[in-house]
Subunit: 145 residues, 2 copies
């Protein structure tokens, strides 16, 4: 699950950009790695299971910083809070079920035609890793409607 190269290097990665390595930052990075698609609140709760007294604003500031340095990315998956993933996880298209809220992923290759078409028609460069499809998963479709 963990990319070993990045795992070895992220401390250095932060330092090389002039940032410090704090226990809080370490915990936040670990949380993002382990949780997969985590909201700031998910991260906060996860971090607090391992260390006491970590503050919400620290989590927000840290996620922000990690994103600026490329260690994490976020996507907007609906009304609520954004979700964060490790920055080195391969880009993927998100699938969000309208009914159960479950999040799934597919390869961005499926979106090749769409991305090309958008570029041709609008000269717009799509960030495939932030493409989000809302809809209904198979489980929810068989239960209701």
């Amino acid at each position: 699950m963990v990319n070993s190269v990045v795992d070895r290097d992220w401390k250095q990665h932060l330092r090389s950009q002039g940032y410090r390595l704090t226990p809080q930052r370490q915990l936040v990075i670990e949380a993002v790695e382990e949780l997969g698609h985590a909201t700031p609140d998910d991260v906060l709760r996860h971090v607090r299971q391992r260390a006491h007294g970590v503050n919400a604003s620290t989590v927000y500031r840290t996620l922000d910083l990690l994103e600026r340095t490329g260690l994490v990315t976020h996507a907007h998956l609906g009304h609520g809070a954004p979700t964060y993933h490790p920055g080195w996880s391969p880009p993927h298209v998100h699938l969000v079920c309208r009914h159960c809220g479950r999040i799934d992923e597919v390869s961005p290759e499926l979106a090749t035609d769409l991305v090309d078409g958008i570029r041709r028609q609008k000269d717009f460069e799509t960030d495939v890793g932030h493409l989000t499809a809302f809809g209904w998963c198979s489980a929810c479709r068989t239960v209701e409607r």
Copy 2:
């Protein structure tokens, strides 16, 4: 810009579902029609240019009701507030520029392969009208980076 059939019928549409026709609702519908991609706040400001004393909570409640009855739809286009469009406007894929925030649209036909692929791989039914692509528009790409 306005679909005449719906325009003629939306009053009846509301009444038939047991809802009332109020000046506020009329103003909100008009605002959504005229604004295109409007946040609740956009709608509120537009409405207040025409009538005084309209309250924010009324706008929220009205947008909610209009959405439940199918007269408007909303999409999540980033961190901020959702944006509302007329429910009868043809579904479209949204393009959101990361830099200038401008919103554009393309035909959902471009997403046919993606939608099919998602259905095949995950048995997931995509709501094409809520497909959002984040990226960079041509204007912003030529200016910076």
